[in-house]
């Protein structure tokens, strides 16, 4: 039960920031979308050019590679992060003594920017100076770990760095989910004779399914928006083998100076994001409605 506003001043205080925000969200989206339908190059032009920019963008090799990469990267990053995060959460749930210490360690990567992450991992992956050189120096002269300069493997270095960054987050959320399981359920399972494996697979995992979906969606949208990490780790290379949609947008807008196509690429990025977010939104609504009718 919320109260009605009285007086003019409160309305002013409330509406000014809200309107700016709404203008920014709606207006900018509309603006960029409009630009995507124009033939703008270095400067914005506002004549209608239909889907010309979209066709140009979709035909560019950059775009095809970027979205193919996104598929591989998305599955690898999200899949690995969730699996490792879940396993770590299950292990920590076993009444581990060093829990606080471990949690502090697992979560610190989130405080570090993707730029720092990418830079440091690029040094580690550097075959001439990093892990490969280190292992070679130890005596295993035949050891090779030069993925980062290999067109076919460079993408995996990005996945590793991204997983390194995100596991703590997944673990923290899964642990919260596991902890929220009714303790009586543990007791009932004990009496029923369920061993730890059966318990986690049949009882705990379904219980954290809602949280898992949240984690999935959040990680997926991070994956789609990935820009900083790639710029810092590989710069999109070697060549364009690790480019991703966000880099394609930047490339069109600021490196090639083609605002129309850049906007089209941005809108495509937004659409791929919606493909992930819309089903989630509908799922949340459906679930809420189901809970209301069941009580």
């Amino acid at each position: 039960m919320r109260r009605r506003l009285a007086g003019f001043l409160p309305l002013l205080v409330i509406w000014i920031p809200l309107l700016i925000s709404v203008a920014h969200v709606v207006g900018f989206t509309a603006w960029t979308t409009w630009l995507s339908f124009t033939p703008s190059d270095l400067l914005p032009e506002y004549d209608w050019a239909g889907l010309r920019s979209y066709r140009a963008v979709l035909r560019t090799e950059n775009t095809a590679i970027a979205y193919a990469n996104l598929l591989v990267y998305g599955v690898g990053y999200v899949g690995l992060t969730m699996i490792v995060g879940f396993v770590l959460a299950v292990l920590i749930d076993q009444r581990i003594r060093a829990e606080n210490l471990l949690r502090t360690i697992y979560l610190y990567p989130l405080a570090v920017s993707f730029v720092v992450t990418g830079t440091v991992w690029s040094w580690l992956f550097n075959p001439g100076q990093g892990i490969q050189k280190f292992v070679n120096n130890l005596g295993w002269t035949g050891f090779r770990f030069d993925w980062i300069i290999d067109r076919d493997f460079a993408l995996y270095t990005i996945i590793i760095a991204a997983v390194w960054h995100g596991v703590g987050f997944a673990m923290a959320l899964f642990l919260a989910g596991l902890r929220s399981i009714d303790s009586d359920l543990h007791k009932a399972a004990q009496i029923d004779g369920a061993g730890p494996l059966r318990f986690y697979l049949r009882i705990a995992a379904p219980g954290v399914a809602p949280i898992a979906i949240s984690v999935l969606v959040i990680l997926l949208q991070y994956a789609i928006k990935t820009f900083d990490l790639v710029r810092a780790l590989t710069g999109g290379g070697p060549g364009i083998s690790t480019t991703l949609p966000a880099l394609v947008v930047y490339d069109f807008m600021f490196q090639r100076g083609q605002l129309g196509r850049g906007s089209a690429a941005a809108v495509l990025l937004l659409l791929s994001l919606l493909v992930v977010l819309l089903p989630y939104y509908l799922y949340v609504h459906w679930r809420a409605r189901r809970e209301r009718t069941n009580g």
Binding site: K187, A188, Q190, I191, D192, A194, G195, G207
Partner: protein, 360 residues
């Protein structure tokens, strides 16, 4: 044969001793209730019996077998929880068969068992539903079904009705009691609600601060409480415990409170040892009513009246003590006025102030 025998059980959590030496023997087919306020250790005792916790000292025997080292799943027990603890992602059927699955019972036998239990509890039509689609009462029945299907030596109930609303609680109480009548298994039932205890138990173990205060039939626990705690715990409103002096009254004894002298029925030698000493007189409010018939009477000042419709509960003062009486609803009482009350001294109890135990 004793279904459960607990000897000298101690349990500590950190520095707190939660159970201080529990001895309990429950016979086959009994409905034993562990009753007590929160923190008395009743749930801990149940967890120890179930094998969910290990004791610091003492033995637990289930069906004449020492089970201290036996894990919960092999103790031949079943448990029903306050929160039902149904597996949310499984159907009712799966919930019931889960334990059997873990034990490797062949599928046909599993389905047989489910069918048997479902018809007994009338949950046949709920078998394919998930717990979230059931009402509180239905969930509780499924939880009982899961327990029944194990065909255990002991049923353990941990405050199973606390999450239900009042009406449902009354219905489920009757159902559980009827179930017990039909299957004649041994039940250990934990609750803080004395009505549940009084209506369902064959014997009640009243617990406080980690010790069993009295383990006896409801009638015994109610009318001949072993100590002051039990006396004050059972009954709504609870038993009046008034400080009095035991005096000679002709050949017999009487309790003197203030100016009133209330004669007591024939007393044992132990009681006589307290002559001219202070005791606590225990008298239930329903034994104190408005005067009108012949009997022992005394005068007390009315402090407050609480008309409940069926009767009026009166708070009165006598000789520095306060007591509650239950008078008939049509009696007119005036606050502040001295009124005559009638006391039925036949079920009066006497308590030793030092040990708090009952002497008569």
């Amino acid at each position: 044969m004793a279904a459960l025998r607990v000897k000298g059980l101690h349990k500590q959590f950190g520095n707190t001793e939660v159970l201080k030496g529990i001895d309990l023997t429950v016979r086959n087919g009994e409905f034993a209730v562990l009753l007590g306020p929160s923190g008395c250790g009743k749930s801990t005792l149940l967890n120890l019996i179930a094998g969910l916790e290990t004791p610091n000292a003492g033995t637990i025997e289930i069906a004449e077998r020492v089970v201290n080292a036996v894990p919960a799943k092999d103790r031949d027990i079943a448990m029903v929880f306050q929160s039902y603890a149904l597996y949310p992602s499984m159907t009712v059927r799966r919930n019931i068969t889960f334990g059997m699955e873990c034990r490797g019972v062949p599928k046909p036998k599993q389905q047989e068992a489910v069918a048997r239990v479902a018809s007994l509890l009338q949950i046949d039509q709920l078998l394919e539903r998930k717990p979230s689609q059931l009402s509180g009462g239905q969930r509780q029945r499924v939880a009982m079904g899961r327990a029944l299907v194990r065909d255990p030596k002991l049923f353990l109930f941990d405050e199973p009705l606390s999450n239900l609303d009042a009406q449902l609680r009354v219905d489920m109480r009757t159902e559980i009691k009827q179930l017990h009548g039909r299957i004649r298994s041994t039940i250990i039932y934990v609750t803080h609600d004395q009505i549940e205890a009084m209506t369902m138990a064959s014997r009640i173990a009243v617990m406080n601060k980690g010790e069993i205060q009295q383990f006896a039939e409801p009638d015994e626990v109610y009318n001949r409480p072993a100590n002051l705690f039990v006396a004050r715990f059972l009954g709504t409103p609870p038993m009046n415990t008034l400080k009095a002096r035991l005096v000679r009254d002709g050949d017999g004894l009487a309790a003197a409170i203030g100016l009133a002298k209330l004669p007591l029925p024939a007393q044992s030698e132990t009681a006589r040892a307290f002559i001219d000493r202070d005791v606590f007189l225990g008298l239930r409010p329903e034994c104190i009513t408005d005067s009108g018939r012949p009997g022992t009477t005394f005068e007390a000042e009315v402090l407050t009246t609480e008309p409940t419709g069926a009767e009026t509960i009166v708070l009165a003062a006598i000789g520095g003590e306060r007591l509650r009486a239950r008078v008939s609803p049509d009696v007119r009482l005036v606050t502040g006025q001295r009124t005559t009350f009638l006391a039925d001294m036949r079920s009066a109890c006497l308590f030793d102030p030092a040990t708090e135990k009952r002497i008569a």
